[in-house]
């Protein structure tokens, strides 16, 4: 056995959280030691023989990008281990090294048991083949023999609830069906170690529930699962332990709750007013909150909300760079980080809602906010919240049509709702209930 390395001894793990570790005595399934990876990104790449012939002596110029810096980690057998981190933090690179898709520049990775060599759903699916053939192909890619792969076709189809479509070519599948098939294939691989990259939000609610059950089963059956995700809810629900990668280094290993909170703190912390926040800057930091407040009906600022008042919120958001067709999403969370509600607002969608007052908010849904311009957004809604502490966040998305999903979440404000008649659940209702006693 290799030396047992707990997270406290890990280099580059500055904050160890004293989370309990149920697998402390179990054998190590994945041992990562000092793994580093640097990518060379060509600046003026010569990618044809012709260019090489024309410029025979021009050197290939590269800039280097450090993706992983001396990562060390032990994942124990039977652990459900979450890896979280921002885009570009190196978490997917680490997963690809574990999956033998990339080769580490230095350091060693050792594993015990058979690895399912997939990191994404539906890899290698061929649209021109029937589902049945795809399941076999996938099974063989995962290391089964053809006979074994054939044996499990029915089980896979059954789990995916796609028995009737076994001989339908995949190109005729809906995307939801394809995802279900892909997920089932992965779950049926029966490998000892599974690497999963962002797959949890698939299928309809009943299929998600099924997947959740399977994840719990996997956890209980002693399989080792490494999950890379942005979804803190998934990490907190399934994982025994989680790691936060930040700037190519291990930032923190420990209890999923704590890691999740640290992740949110790193990413969604209210932007410190100046440019000094660069170290923590979310890529595409393009808006900042100038002000946000609660009002009473008279337009007076209030800190907290009394039960019988409407929720009236005003916020001023300043664009730091040009925002084309921005979308503002407002989301309310309670103290348990439960998402209470959310809605999107497109300032240029509707001329009636041209609150920014720059006059170009015409009815065609197109428009932009120049850098430095401010939007004042106000909204009002009935208060159905129960007593408690609430947090309002705003997500700013730029140019959704073009697929630019560069997101930024800003904590707008938090407030306490008080003086509501105590009620169960997270919201109050005023039902009109009618009882007739017959007989």
């Amino acid at each position: 056995m290799p030396t047992d390395l707990t997270s406290a001894e890990l280099p580059g793990a500055p904050e160890r959280i004293s989370g309990h570790d149920p697998q402390a005595g179990d054998p190590v399934a994945i041992e990562i030691r000092d793994v580093s990876k640097t990518f060379r990104i060509p600046t003026d790449r010569i990618d044809t023989f012709k260019e090489r012939a024309v410029h025979p002596f021009r050197p290939n110029n590269y800039r280097t990008l450090k993706a992983l810096e001396s990562i060390s980690l032990d994942i124990r057998k039977g652990e459900f281990f979450g890896i979280v981190g921002r885009n570009g933090s190196g978490k997917s690179t680490l997963l690809k090294i574990l999956a033998s898709i990339y080769r580490a520049d230095s350091g060693t990775v050792r594993m015990a048991g058979r690895l399912a060599p997939f990191i994404e759903l539906g890899v290698g699916f061929d649209p021109d083949l029937a589902a049945r053939d795809n399941i076999i192909l996938n099974g063989v890619m995962m290391g089964l023999s053809q006979a074994e792969a054939k044996d499990r076709v029915d089980a896979v189809l059954e789990f995916a609830e796609l028995e009737e479509f076994a001989d339908l070519k995949l190109k005729n599948y809906s995307s939801g069906m394809a995802v279900r098939l892909a997920f089932s294939v992965m779950l049926q691989s029966e490998a000892d170690i599974l690497l999963i990259d962002e797959v949890l939000a698939v299928g309809d609610a009943s299929f998600q529930q099924k997947c959740a059950d399977v994840f719990h089963d996997m956890r209980d059956s002693g399989r080792t699962v490494v999950l890379v995700t942005h979804d803190m809810g998934a990490v907190q629900t399934y994982c025994n332990r989680a790691m936060l990668i930040h700037d190519a280094e291990v930032h923190m290993i420990g209890d999923p709750e704590e890691v999740g909170r640290e992740y949110l703190r790193l990413n969604f912390a209210r932007d410190p007013s100046g440019e000094g926040g660069d170290a923590l800057a979310v890529p595409g930091l393009h808006a900042r909150v100038v002000d946000a407040w609660l009002e009473d009906e008279g337009g007076v600022r209030i800190d907290n909300l009394e039960g019988d008042q409407k929720i009236r919120i005003k916020t001023v958001i300043e664009a730091r760079e040009r925002l084309d067709n921005p979308v503002l999403g407002f989301h309310l969370y309670n103290a348990d980080n439960l998402h209470i509600f959310g809605f999107n607002h497109k300032p240029f969608e509707d001329e009636d809602e041209d609150e920014d007052g720059d006059g170009d908010g015409d009815g065609d849904g197109e428009g932009s906010v120049a850098a430095g311009e401010r939007m004042e957004v106000s909204f009002e809604l009935d208060n159905h919240l129960t007593n408690g502490h609430y947090f309002l966040r705003c997500w700013v998305t730029r140019d959704r049509q073009a697929g630019d999903m560069a997101l930024q979440a800003i904590d707008l404000l938090d407030f306490v709702v008080f003086n509501v008649t105590p009620a169960p659940g997270v919201m109050t209702v005023e039902p009109e209930v009618d009882t007739r006693i017959e007989g």
Binding site: I101, V109, R114, D126
Partner: protein, 293 residues
């Protein structure tokens, strides 16, 4: 789900080794066990083959039609217009078998060139022996060749050739050609990842090779000097021997044409060099292919 209750027997990981830590070495040309390699190779090439044959209405006919039409055109040119063919015994069968054999080499290497890039999705997302990809292009071509050869044998019998024991020598001919194709495929598919004009260059080079392999006219028609040069090309002796074994037992053998065994050494060196170079280069590039794509 009976997760974890079934232990899969695999080529390398036995049940008793399951709890033992083994170092993973990252992506490679080979690796993951011989059995898995073969399973993948067979499945991928059979799948590709099936797709071409059952994907379209006239699947098999189409793939047969191409060499046959080329054969028809060339036959007319070389027997009716140039009249070279009429002086050669069984010229039509000589031409047909050459076109089919060279066509295998040409098509398989062309398909292999783009194969790694075309399968970008799985290269970047899963771990598997990278060598499967160019090899499966070769294997698909090989299936194609075997199917085409059925038609060739039909024509040969119809044209009055009697089956001889030496027809079995077609097996080593195909093996040699397959090895050369695989070697070239490894080289080209790895080159294409870095240099995207590989395909254009190879399509021109393979056209030159078509003429340099004496596919159309027996090599002895080329003249002393040119013939010596052409014998550096390993495809030339392969096709010369095919003619002797399959079509015309009285045709000059490769040894006779080259002027002794010693003169076949350059062709053998080129043959081995292509295979070794292909393997060496592919093996060198395989670990980084996923990053280069």
């Amino acid at each position: 789900m009976e997760a974890g209750t079934v232990t899969m027997p695999t080529a390398e990981v036995g049940q008793e080794e399951q709890s033992e830590l083994r170092e993973i070495t990252g992506p490679a040309a080979l690796g993951g066990g011989r059995k898995r390699f073969l399973e993948l190779l067979v499945l991928m090439s059979v799948t590709d083959f099936k797709k071409t044959y059952f994907g379209t209405m006239l699947g098999y006919l189409w793939s047969l039609l191409r060499p046959l039409m080329l054969f028809g055109v060339l036959l007319v040119v070389f027997t009716k217009i140039l009249r070279v063919g009429s002086t050669i015994p069984n010229y039509s069968m000589f031409l047909l078998i050459n076109i089919v054999l060279f066509g295998f080499f040409q098509e398989a290497t062309m398909n292999a060139t783009q194969s790694v890039v075309a399968r970008e999705g799985i290269v970047r997302k899963t771990q598997f022996p990278r060598l499967v990809i160019p090899f499966s292009a070769t294997a698909t071509g090989l299936f194609n060749l075997l199917v085409n050869l059925i038609a060739v044998f039909g024509f040969m019998l119809a044209s009055g050739l009697y089956p001889r024991l030496s027809w079995f020598m077609l097996i080593p001919v195909i093996l040699a050609l397959t090895a050369l194709t695989a070697g070239m495929s490894m080289l080209l598919s790895a080159l294409y990842v870095r240099r995207r004009d590989t395909l254009i260059i190879w399509s021109v080079l393979s056209m030159a090779l078509f003429y340099g392999s004496a596919v159309l006219i027996p090599v002895e028609f080329a003249g002393e000097t040119l013939q010596k040069i052409m014998f550096i090309n390993p495809i030339v002796p392969i096709l010369v021997q095919t003619r002797v074994w399959m079509i015309d037992p009285n045709a000059p053998t490769a040894v006779e044409l080259a002027g002794g065994w010693a003169h076949l050494i350059p062709a053998a060196v080129v043959f081995i060099a292509v295979c070794v170079l292909g393997w060496w280069y592919f093996n060198r590039e395989a670990p980084r292919v996923a990053e280069e794509l």
